[in-house]
Symmetry: C2
Subunit: 196 residues, 2 copies
């Protein structure tokens, strides 16, 4: 492939990610379709598949960007709170998670709507991003439970993440079984305070 | 409407719920379509809409049955554990929730996949079923936190339900961010023990 072709391919790949990101943000993952996307990008439908194996691969790229922004928001929250108690740091991170999900609801939902299980192949960069998020949670937890073994700590990290995720999910969906939006932040704090 | 027509309508309504339930259980909510359903029931597609306003109304009926079975499973668990500590009762209910979700995954998911938010009209029988489930959770909680006001207790009930739901959801989906499924039961116990 000539340098010029490579550059053109890279430019199209970048453009498609940006357009797909905007579409998911506006209309949710289900609204992303190859034909209108190609139209927006000014290319043929087939050109998308020259750049990405399939639409899932494109969505994974979008999710990668979302994950990076989410990770940055959580890291910033825990750094701002670094003088606080471990429990307060957990609460600060959870609130950052809530705010990110609330402001980027469709992009955040897409993180969980793409088929990607512990059984299937998961890209290494995704595992790295997840590892970074989890180590942010594990650190204050290891201060709260200094005698916990590494394996237990990993499980507790996942359980806590899932708990906060559940509160944010049912709350933001305004599910009648969820926590009312204006109270989500408070309830996360209350549950985490009990745990700490 | 003659008695005979009424009886025929009621029989079709019942038949459709049973067929829809089986279809959701086998293939998930997205697999339920009016045309094949009518074929299974041996009626015209239009006959479905003589009995139900729309497919969502039919799914709500299925969800009502699922909710009743879920409620019965949770109530049985808490009754079996009624001599135990409040924390143990919460754990017993959560485990019953996990097992129900694990054995009826598609029907359980349909409870949350139907558009039904706190803003829209929600059938009274649904609210009653939900109220029953929540009062089962609120009771042990009020023993753990005897000084908590009713409003706080209600929020804590919803937050705890959402937490357990999150652990079960990400765990059963085998999400890489979730708790490995063979550890879900243990982790629910650990989180609830911390809270209690």
């Amino acid at each position: 492939m000539s340098e010029k072709t490579k550059a053109r391919k890279a430019a199209l790949a970048e453009k498609l990610v940006e357009l797909a990101e905007r579409q998911i943000q506006l209309g949710g993952l289900a609204s992303l379709k190859a034909r209108p996307l190609a139209q927006d990008a000014g290319c043929a439908v087939g050109a998308i598949y020259n750049v990405y194996d399939d639409m899932t691969a494109l969505v994974l790229q979008v999710n990668g960007r979302t994950f990076q922004r989410l990770g940055a928001a959580v890291t910033k929250a825990v750094e701002t709170a670094r003088q606080d108690t471990p429990t307060q740091r957990l609460i600060a991170m959870s609130h950052a998670y809530l705010h990110f999900a609330s402001e980027n609801t469709n992009l955040w939902r897409a993180l969980f709507d793409v088929e990607m299980s512990a059984d299937g192949p998961v890209p290494q960069w995704y595992l790295d991003a997840l590892g970074g998020l989890f180590s942010n949670i594990a650190e204050p937890l290891s201060e709260i439970f200094p005698d916990m073994h590494e394996h237990e700590l990993d499980l507790m990290t996942r359980a806590l993440f899932s708990s906060v995720h559940g509160i944010v999910l049912l709350g933001l969906e305004r599910r009648i079984s969820g926590v009312p939006d204006d109270q989500i932040e408070k309830m996360i704090g209350q549950v985490l305070t009990q745990i700490g």
